[in-house]
């Protein structure tokens, strides 16, 4: 598996550049992956989404249904796509250190 260096730490990622161990995430990871996703700045709304994803994953071991993510953060899907151009399931999960969703997504 490849590694990337974030603030002097070696972070393991999969073939798609997603972290392999969500527990190894630290704040600088979000800034690092944001660059790769073409996101210039992380706003409060970005963090609202990232934090909700992280909390949900910690409790349930999986990313939430997208409709639930929108409802709980109060951010409509269209705006989530503006925040994370590759979408909530891919871009947002990557920034939060969640694994890339598999199957029919």
């Amino acid at each position: 598996m490849p590694f990337v260096e974030i603030e002097g730490k070696q972070v393991e990622v999969d073939e798609d550049g997603f972290m392999t161990d969500p527990a190894a995430w630290f704040e600088a990871c979000a800034y690092y992956f944001a660059k790769g996703e073409g996101i210039e700045q992380l706003t409060d709304d970005h963090w609202k989404v990232i934090n909700y994803l992280k909390e949900y994953y910690a409790t349930n071991g999986i990313a939430p249904m997208i409709r639930k993510l929108c409802k709980e953060t109060g951010i409509p899907l269209k705006e989530i796509y503006e925040l994370f151009p590759s979408g909530p399931a891919k871009g947002a999960c990557k920034l939060g250190g969640l694994p890339k969703p598999t199957g029919c997504v």
């Binding site: 073939e15 999986i62 997208i66 969703p101 598999t102 199957g103």
Partner: protein, 462 residues
């Protein structure tokens, strides 16, 4: 070697060796790959009649070319179904026919090389196994079977897309493609029950999970838990309306079977084994399948012959569309089609119409639950694939571009109907069409068929 030979070929991002080892596969080193592939081809020709028939009988009439959405979109001769099968056929001739052994290239025979295996990886993952070419072939040759052989051999060599291989890993871990946990499943279903209560004037719908002594086991697509909430809701409302004693299972929350798409041995069998173990544990009397095209084919056509467990054939298995259509035809459902009044068209999932005989049932439902239904052309068993079939839902740039090209034909069909809603009752079709309607600037909303049933069902307590 592979990076060098892969140059210029459109290929999905491949899984690494570590991932393959978790699936019980020790990747074959490059210097052994060709030899191993020939050995597997020899095995297939000895046990698989459909493979030999297709290898021996193609006359290159060319009829399949314009019937393949992949060729129409990419104009790459290796994407002509006959040309794609030739990537194996040339080696078949070289090693297994007397004329090929003697005269080589003069009779279309060719040595198998690592370069050719790279082409297999490129083109067998551009074929969506939709079988429109088989439907139009004058000899009835099933070219998708060749894609399946190619993908299976590649898998055994340790070559496969990250997407399919990681999904196979999730199957072994959780019994579903998304890697859903029981906690996640229950939380999502509670959320959907609350949504129905809010949207439908206090209507209470239960979504039982792992409930013992249930009559019906409903098998949803795991993607419904992330992307397709209305399909799950529609199923829940339907089972409530008919008063079924039903449940879902957290051990087999998956209507699809990616094993069928890359490893029709160990991975495909895992799902079948889990299914029947759950039927025994929960006392199931009937299995009802959710909206998933390839998965319904894998279930309807292969489950009985794949299971080692006794007595499994006694449990009847139907698709939820069969159930709904039968109750509509016998006048037992109270439906209000004006609730779905927008102009709507139906995309026929390839595996339903060309592999499972699930075709008229969808029309029975459409006519009962919508008020402005228009067919696209061609339709039914002549319909074109969405371009995502067999899970070619890759998002790396070259493959994403391919998905857009492969859905050109579908976009053209939908545009001609001038519909506002596109019903695509299969999880792969939905995952392909959600982004593709945007890429093709089609002003349509993509929905499932059971979504519309749930919306149209009239409950006395509402």
């Amino acid at each position: 070697m592979s990076t060098e030979t892969a140059k210029g070929l459109r290929q999905p991002k491949r899984a690494n060796e570590k991932l393959f080892r978790t699936l019980g596969i020790e990747p074959v080193p490059d210097e052994k790959k060709v030899e191993e592939a020939i050995r597997h081809l020899d095995d297939f020709r000895n046990k698989l009649r459909s493979f030999v028939v297709t290898m021996e009988n193609c006359v290159k009439c060319g009829l399949c070319a314009d019937n393949c959405h992949t060729y129409l979109g990419t104009k790459d001769p290796n994407n002509i179904p006959a040309g794609r099968a030739d990537l194996i056929r040339k080696a078949y001739k070289r090693y297994f026919t007397p004329q090929g052994k003697l005269f080589g290239p003069l009779v279309g025979a060719e040595e198998l090389t690592l370069e050719t295996l790279e082409k297999w990886y490129s083109y067998f993952y551009q074929c969506s196994e939709c079988r429109r070419c088989s439907h139009t072939c004058p000899f009835g040759l099933d070219t998708a079977e060749i894609t399946m052989v190619g993908r299976q051999i590649l898998f055994w060599l340790g070559i496969g897309p990250q997407l399919h291989t990681a999904t196979a890993g999730a199957i072994l871990k959780t019994g579903n493609h998304m890697g859903l946990t029981k906690a996640g499943i229950i939380d999502t279903l509670e959320f959907l029950a609350e949504e129905i209560e809010e949207d439908r004037n206090g209507l209470k719908v239960e979504f039982p999970t792992d409930k013992p002594d249930s009559d019906i086991l409903y098998i949803p697509s795991s993607a419904d838990f992330m992307l397709n909430p209305n399909t799950l809701k529609g199923a829940g409302m339907f089972f409530k309306w008919v008063g079924a004693n039903w449940t879902m299972s957290s051990r087999i929350t998956e209507a699809g079977n990616f094993g069928y798409l890359m490893d029709q041995t160990r991975i495909q069998r895992e799902m079948v084994t889990r299914l029947y173990e759950e039927c025994t544990t929960l006392g199931i009397k009937k299995i009802v399948w959710g909206e998933c095209g390839h998965g319904w084919r894998a279930a309807k056509m292969y489950v009985a012959s794949y299971s080692d467990l006794p007595g499994v054939a006694k449990i009847p298995m139907t698709h939820i569309h069969d159930e709904v259509a039968a109750l509509i035809e016998s006048g037992q459902l109270d439906l209000d089609p004006t609730r779905n009044s927008q102009k709507i068209t139906l995309h026929d999932p390839c595996n339903y119409v060309r592999a499972c005989g699930l075709c008229d049932q969808m029309r029975v439902i459409m006519r009962a639950v919508t008020s402005d239904f228009v067919e696209m052309t061609p339709n039914r068993e002549r319909n074109f694939c969405c371009g995502g079939g067999s899970g070619v839902l890759f998002d790396d740039p070259a493959m994403y571009e391919y998905r857009i090209l492969a859905s050109n034909k579908k976009a053209e069909q939908v545009r001609e109907t001038e519909a506002e809603v596109l019903c695509a009752p299969c999880s792969i079709c939905k995952a392909q069409l959600y982004p593709m309607v945007k890429e093709h600037k089609l002003p349509v909303e993509v929905v499932g068929l059971i979504d519309l049933v749930g919306h149209a069902l009239v409950f006395p307590e509402e």
